[in-house]
């Protein structure tokens, strides 16, 4: 097995200083074992000279020895550096290609999001059970389907990952607008899990959470760590009757990013993930 040196630079690409991950690296980057260089979207587009190596602010950045923490959470909107929709689209294409050359990437751009994504609730409830054995997702039906749902039925816009929707009308049958998703709300309260690489925290775990429920979460997040190109994720689960029921995952830690322990998770999880990544690469070579 070849031993590969871990990256010697962490390049933070960010759009929003208030993003929880960007904020930790901007304010506490010195806690990591290698230097953190922060570059905003505007600096990336207007100042950096990009090619096989990047040059910026008098420095040369060699992708092969650099870890990228991709927090370009949104490249949309009129205030960004792009002068047209086509420029923004071409930047997104370029980003997806360019990040492949780096030694480590925290979040690989997808067609849905520049920081990667598992898509809408419907995508997640359809695709993740194929990937992770044992995962439970809410019973659901897409808009237009007449399949009957029994229980506490809610209707939600599937692209609103942080919305539980509204309780459906009493009458059975198709519910809501075209594109809405009806689901049976699982039992128990909602809680969140934050993951960076193989490290997790459950900062708002239900008070009576049992060991088997915790084991289920650990098993799920290990599976996700093994298969996902997105190393920084947040999950929402319902407590459920037996094991927790998965609700959604998002590359932006909207809830856990504000809770105690998140900064430590980013520092520890990222450090470990970057080092483990170089070991995984070495093992494959």
């Amino acid at each position: 097995m070849t031993r590969l040196e871990p990256p010697n630079l962490i390049l933070l690409l960010y759009t929003d200083r208030a993003d929880a991950v960007a904020s930790v690296l901007l304010e506490q980057g010195q806690r990591l074992r290698c230097e953190v260089l922060a570059m905003s979207l505007s600096q990336l587009v207007n100042e950096a000279i990009v090619g096989r190596t990047w040059k910026w602010a008098g420095r040369t950045i060699d992708p092969s020895s650099t870890a990228v923490v991709n927090r370009l959470v949104s490249v949309e909107g009129g205030t960004g550096p792009f002068q047209s929709f086509v420029q923004r689209q071409q930047f997104w294409i370029w980003l997806a290609e360019a990040l492949q050359g780096f030694a480590y990437v925290s979040s690989v751009p997808s067609a849905i999001s520049p920081v990667g994504s598992f898509g809408s609730l419907l995508d997640q409830w359809s695709d993740l059970p194929e990937l992770v054995s044992g995962i439970r997702v809410p019973a659901h039906r897409a808009g237009g389907s007449t399949a009957e749902l029994r229980g506490d039925v809610y209707v939600v816009d599937p692209w609103h990952l942080y919305n539980l929707g509204r309780r459906a009308a009493i009458e059975p049958g198709p519910t809501g607008r075209h594109g809405d998703l009806a689901y049976v709300r699982p039992a128990g309260r909602l809680f969140h899990v934050a993951q960076v690489g193989n490290t997790i925290i459950i900062p708002n775990a239900p008070p009576g959470m049992r060991q088997e429920q915790r084991d289920h979460i650990v098993s799920f997040t290990r599976s996700m760590s093994a298969l996902s190109p997105n190393r920084i994720l947040e999950y929402a689960f319902f407590e459920g009757n037996e094991v927790p029921v998965f609700y959604s995952t998002c590359p932006i830690p909207v809830v856990t990013g504000r809770l105690p322990g998140y900064a430590d998770l980013v520092v520890t999880g990222l450090q470990d993930d970057i080092e483990n990544s170089s070991q995984r690469t070495a093992a494959r070579s």
């Binding site: 000279i49 370029w94 290609e97």
Partner: protein, 292 residues
């Protein structure tokens, strides 16, 4: 089983680029029939194509027919191979209107080779380009249906799971996604060829936007195919190989190939005209694939 020869022929047949194509003043027309009063109930649409409610009023039909005629003239003068392709594969277009569908739309069905439905073609402001896209899109489906009928399916048609198309954003079955890769490749070729045959900025802008949209989708095809849940084994290997070739080469027509500079400079140069040449070069590289 789809052979390598058949797979490579797809790339050749769906390439409408022709550097030697000359604008001519010859009359250009489609040969397929327009059916404004279809009796057929299309099997999988949100409205009944045979319903009188789906018919254009008689005095509104000429406007739609004129739009389709204008598409023939645009294709005939700027992309004659595309005109020939549509004429070779489309037999009848059912022309309908419906409030059940938002905006213009088109449809094909594997059981109805040679036919398509064009819905609400009067609606879009840029109706000539929208109608051109619809007609070539559906003609490519006819060609793909025939190829599969004669040489074997490209993938397992019984695969029931759906995948999100990086072009339309819709979740579609595996066989539709595989068809989509070839449909969008053909459309990219059309936009590229039309762009090469005009110097008019007003004509180039929508072509550039269309081409960029196709490139964007191809940028994420390889990621989708590499996904842990994607049933790659259910797709014929030579079909995977040609799609992989397209998806590797098409995104390189973007600003990524330009010399080292700021991204803003590269994006500006690309957007202001370099895209036409780069795209043509990329498509030639794909079309020149002998063994994939």
């Amino acid at each position: 089983m789809t052979s390598r020869i058949v797979a490579n022929a797809l790339l050749r047949d769906l390439s409408f680029c022709d550097g030697a194509a000359q604008r001519t003043n010859a009359a250009h027309a489609f040969r397929f029939a327009l059916d404004f009063e279809p009796e057929r109930v299309w099997p999988d649409l949100a409205f009944d194509t045979s319903s009188p409610l789906a018919r254009y009023p008689v005095d509104a039909r000429n406007e739609v027919a004129e739009t389709i005629g204008a598409v023939a003239r645009v294709a005939g003068t700027g992309a004659p191979k595309a005109l020939d392709f549509i004429n070779a594969h489309m037999e009848t277009a059912l022309v309908c209107r419906s409030d059940a569908i938002e905006g213009a739309s088109s449809a094909s069905n594997r059981e109805l080779v040679g036919l398509c439905v064009l819905t609400n073609m009067h609606a879009p402001a840029d109706r000539i380009l929208v109608c051109a896209e619809a007609l070539l899109h559906e003609s490519i489906h006819q060609y793909l249906y025939k190829t599969e009928r004669d040489d074997g399916n490209f993938c397992d048609l019984s695969e029931a799971r759906t995948y999100r198309s990086p072009w339309s954003g819709n979740r579609i079955p595996l066989h539709s996604l595989i068809h989509a890769c070839f449909v969008w490749y053909g459309l990219l070729s059309l936009w590229s060829q039309l762009a090469r045959s005009t110097a008019d900025d007003d004509e180039l802008t929508p072509l550039r936007e269309n081409a960029s949209r196709v490139m964007f989708g191809f940028s994420f095809v390889r990621q989708m195919f590499a996904g842990a849940s994607f049933p790659l084994a259910s797709v014929e290997p030579d079909i995977v190989a040609v799609i992989d070739r397209i998806a590797r080469i098409v995104p390189s027509a973007g600003p990524v190939d330009l010399e080292p500079s700021t991204l803003q400079d590269s994006l500006r140069r690309w957007e202001s005209g370099a895209w036409v040449g780069q795209l043509a070069k990329s498509l030639q590289r794909i079309g020149a694939s002998e063994p994939v």
